[in-house]
């Protein structure tokens, strides 16, 4: 037989052996049963679209300033009232043209501003427009005035952090009381941008048309986009309609939340932990006295034997992930009508992430032959990469405003650069999922796209692969050079 064919057959034999070992432990059955329950739970979730008028009202409730803080029972500072609503064709809500008026009501807040400065009544909307325009407008769409506004806002954030209240109060007063701080054009653009962001609606026209002094009234005409369905508000039910969720959000965000945070975050964490525990026995079991002799007396190079065993461990994670992710993807596609193929990339991302920890576990396995030490090593690696990943994300978020001491930023940057990019891979998975579920202009999508654009994928994947190769290479060297 050809050498490659022989090695392939040996690879298949070792995969089958790993599968038998896994099946024997019964954990895979438990995982599949658990996955089945999760999929059943997902299948019980239903989505019901809001009517056109209710849908637009729901979109307006998501505009900046329209959401209070439920934790402190704080009412929102702004309310966007829908008036004169007209649906100008008879399509489905997310395929319809609308004509309506938005009236913005400002709620006086006593002492609600920074440094107990009252942003009472008039000016909150203007302040909101100023801040959002300065922080959420794309760089290439910014005017010089907006760039200056952005820099002033960053300075305001720094002053607030350093409790320089005089400067903070002055900034707020300047923006709130200065009628020229925000123009009508900026306000119109704000409305158009927010309808695009929260509702994926194209604004054909928006006109600032106050009928009384200080009234904030906008006449708007919109038309849908192909992706409007993703952001169309839906009511969510759980338990096959037994329980109705209070919140009514864009269907894409609801599916994204479940797929990305519950399955891709919490669920993946559990799967990763279980896989680490189960696979931690593979290498030490193989290296037991009396077992390893039998394998080493077979015509297969030791390094290849170990690599095949490593791939066997990865298969465990892959199988688990395929069952859960494909199952969830199918039931959500069928239940919501929203097929987001990007979620399937989670399979590759999670398996790649697990490959890092399993390489560490493999190295620990060949050097100590102890499953317990393997589990501890994998968990330690996970904790380190998790903390560094979050640390990097946190420092990166405030990099523009120089909030943290330089040595902290440098230390976190260095650790992030040197170590496998576990959290960056998360961003990759999140971005793929978001691209097929969230509205193209939604703030969540823009934030993810921004993170995604900052990361060098070649470097991220390259450094991570290099670490896997390093640990696996060291394991192979150790295994190949040791007497048994």
């Amino acid at each position: 037989m050809h050498t490659i064919t022989q090695y392939f057959l040996k690879f298949v034999a070792i995969m089958k052996d790993s599968l038998q070992e896994t099946l024997d432990s019964k954990v895979l059955y438990a995982m599949v049963a658990l996955s089945g329950l999760v999929i059943l739970g997902a299948a019980s979730i239903g989505f019901e679209p809001k009517s056109p008028e209710k849908g637009i009202e729901s979109i307006l409730r998501r505009l900046p300033g329209a959401q209070g803080n439920p934790l402190v029972a704080q009412e929102p500072p702004l309310r966007y009232e829908l008036q004169d609503f007209k649906q100008t064709n008879e399509n489905k809500p997310w395929e319809s043209d609308f004509h309506f008026t938005i009236v913005v009501h400002e709620k006086p807040i006593e002492g609600g501003g920074p440094g107990d400065n009252p942003i009472a009544g008039k000016g909150i909307f203007r302040f909101m427009v100023y801040v959002v325009s300065a922080t959420q407008t794309d760089e290439d769409e910014m005017t010089d005035q907006e760039r200056e506004a952005r820099e002033r806002f960053h300075q305001f954030q720094r002053d607030a952090m350093h409790r320089q209240m005089d400067k903070v109060n002055k900034f707020v007063q300047d923006v709130v009381t200065n009628p020229n701080a925000v123009t009508a054009v900026q306000m119109e653009r704000f409305i158009a941008n927010q309808l695009a962001a929260q509702g994926t609606l194209v604004t054909k026209s928006v006109k600032f048309a106050p009928t009384a002094q200080d009234e904030l009234r906008f006449e708007v005409q919109t038309q849908p986009r192909a992706e409007t369905f993703r952001t169309w508000p839906h009511k969510m039910t759980v338990g096959f309609g037994a329980y109705t969720w209070d919140q009514e959000g864009p269907i894409g965000n609801e599916v994204f939340f479940i797929e990305n945070f519950i399955i891709g975050g919490f669920g993946a964490g559990i799967a990763m932990l279980v896989a680490s525990v189960v696979t931690s026995f593979y290498i030490p079991n193989m290296l037991r006295k009396g077992t390893v002799d039998l394998l080493l007396a077979k015509p297969i190079p030791r390094w290849l034997l170990l690599v095949f065993k490593y791939i066997g461990g990865l298969l465990f994670m892959l199988l688990n992930t395929v069952v859960v992710v494909v199952g969830i993807w199918l039931v959500f596609g069928l239940r919501s009508g929203l097929w987001g193929p990007g979620f399937l990339m989670t399979i590759a991302v999670l398996t790649f992430q697990f490959a890092i920890f399993y390489a560490v576990s493999t190295f620990t396995g060949v050097t100590t032959r102890s499953p317990i030490v393997c589990i501890l090593a994998a968990c330690f690696a996970w904790a380190v990469l998790f903390v560094v990943g979050w640390g990097y994300r946190a420092t990166d978020g405030v990099r523009d405003i120089d909030l943290l001491p330089k040595w902290v930023v440098t230390s976190v940057d260095t650790a992030h650069f040197m170590l496998p990019r576990y959290k960056d891979l998360d961003v990759l998975g999140d971005t793929f999922t978001a691209q097929s579920l969230l509205g193209p202009d939604s703030p969540e999508r823009k934030a993810l796209d921004k993170s995604y654009a900052k990361l060098g994928w070649l470097q991220t994947v390259g450094v991570t692969l290099a670490y896997i190769a390093l640990f696996l290479g060291a394991s192979c060297w150790w295994f190949a050079s040791k007497d048994y």
């Binding site: 037989m1 057959l9 034999a13 077992t291 002799d293 077979k298 015509p299």
Partner: protein
């Protein structure tokens, strides 16, 4: 358990892969000045050894003598420190030769999530057997060792003797040319041991070379053609069993019933005479032959019913040899460089 009590049968052992018959005298295993150091411990101290094709070869020694280390070096499981070793004309460490080698380790531990059948299938795949060959050989081998009825049971349900039989089956599975058996009868009952002996003789007839490590000297004596005794990493005695166990100058003589042995007259010939049950043991002095004693008995009209040169058991030889060498086997020895 039935499978444990009655097992190994004369069965379908194929001829060697090359199709040749036994050609005694052709070396299949060669070592020259083989040295193995574990840190400061010298496990093998210049072992030079040749095993020929078709032999059943026994390696004896106390615990820690270096027997298992020697086998592991031959199989590439452990690396040699100095010297050279060839197996089937290939320097040790080349994994390709292992398709022609069978191995039953001491204290083996099979993955107990396998059944006998799936284990042999797994090992057969690693040994580059084709699927068809595996499908044919697995039931044959398991029938040979008396495990066919339990071939689909998990190994964790097997007794020690059954696992040992399975070990022999996996060592023979791919029809190897040379088979290393480290304590092959360990845990096997007397009936099973007898069956293993018969199997090994059958393999020898087919031209297989068998290399055995064993503490059961009675077994080795019955099975092996040639042995080596190792002590503290060195060969201290080697040769064929018949030669080694012969006790030169001692004879056992038996006369017809109711005839008296002329002890005094034989003693006067210069022999040392002692009773040995119904027989008499006659020890000759250097250069003397047994002929004068036989002539004397005939001259006295006595009927000679038994005359044989006395042999010692392998156990006697082993103990005598080992005790003559330095006692203590596990003490660290300062490593020395090869000359």
């Amino acid at each position: 358990m039935a499978a444990d009590m009655h097992g190994i049968q004369a069965g379908p052992l194929s001829s060697s892969k090359s199709g040749t018959v036994a050609r005694p005298g052709v070396p299949v295993l060669n070592t020259h000045n083989l040295i193995k150091n574990y840190g400061r411990i010298e496990a093998l101290k210049g072992v030079t050894l040749t095993v020929n094709k078709g032999e059943i070869f026994g390696l004896l020694g106390q615990n820690g003598a270096g027997k298992t280390t020697f086998i592991k070096i031959m199989l590439g499981i452990t690396k040699l420190s100095y010297g050279s070793a060839d197996l089937l004309d290939t320097p040790v460490g080349h994994s390709a030769v292992l398709t022609r080698v069978g191995y039953l380790p001491e204290d083996h531990r099979f993955p107990d999530y396998h059944t006998a059948s799936s284990l042999l299938n797994y090992y057969g795949s690693l040994l580059e057997m084709t699927s068809a060959a595996r499908q044919q050989r697995i039931p044959e081998m398991l029938e040979l060792v008396g495990l066919k009825g339990r071939m689909h049971y998990k190994i964790r349900t097997y007794s020690k003797g059954m696992k040992q039989r399975l070990g022999i089956a996996q060592a023979l599975m791919h029809d190897p040319e040379i088979i290393f058996l480290d304590e092959p009868t360990d845990g096997v009952d007397p009936v099973g041991r007898k069956e293993i002996r018969a199997l090994l003789h059958q393999l020898k007839e087919q031209g297989k070379t068998i290399f055995i490590n064993s503490h059961l000297l009675g077994e080795v004596e019955l099975i092996c053609d040639r042995i080596v005794i190792m002590q503290r990493g060195e060969i201290i005695r080697q040769g064929d069993i018949a030669t080694l166990t012969r006790t030169r100058g001692y004879y056992q003589i038996g006369l017809a019933p109711r005839q008296d042995f002329p002890r005094d007259e034989v003693t006067k010939l210069g022999c040392h005479v002692t009773p040995d049950g119904d027989l008499w043991e006659v020890g000759l002095t250097d250069g003397q032959t047994i002929d004068p004693v036989v002539d004397l008995l005939r001259a006295r009209g006595l009927n000679l019913r038994h005359l044989s040169e006395k042999r010692q058991t392998l156990e006697d030889l082993f103990i005598q040899t080992v005790e003559a060498a330095e006692p203590g086997v596990d003490q660290p020895i300062r490593r020395r460089r090869p000359q």
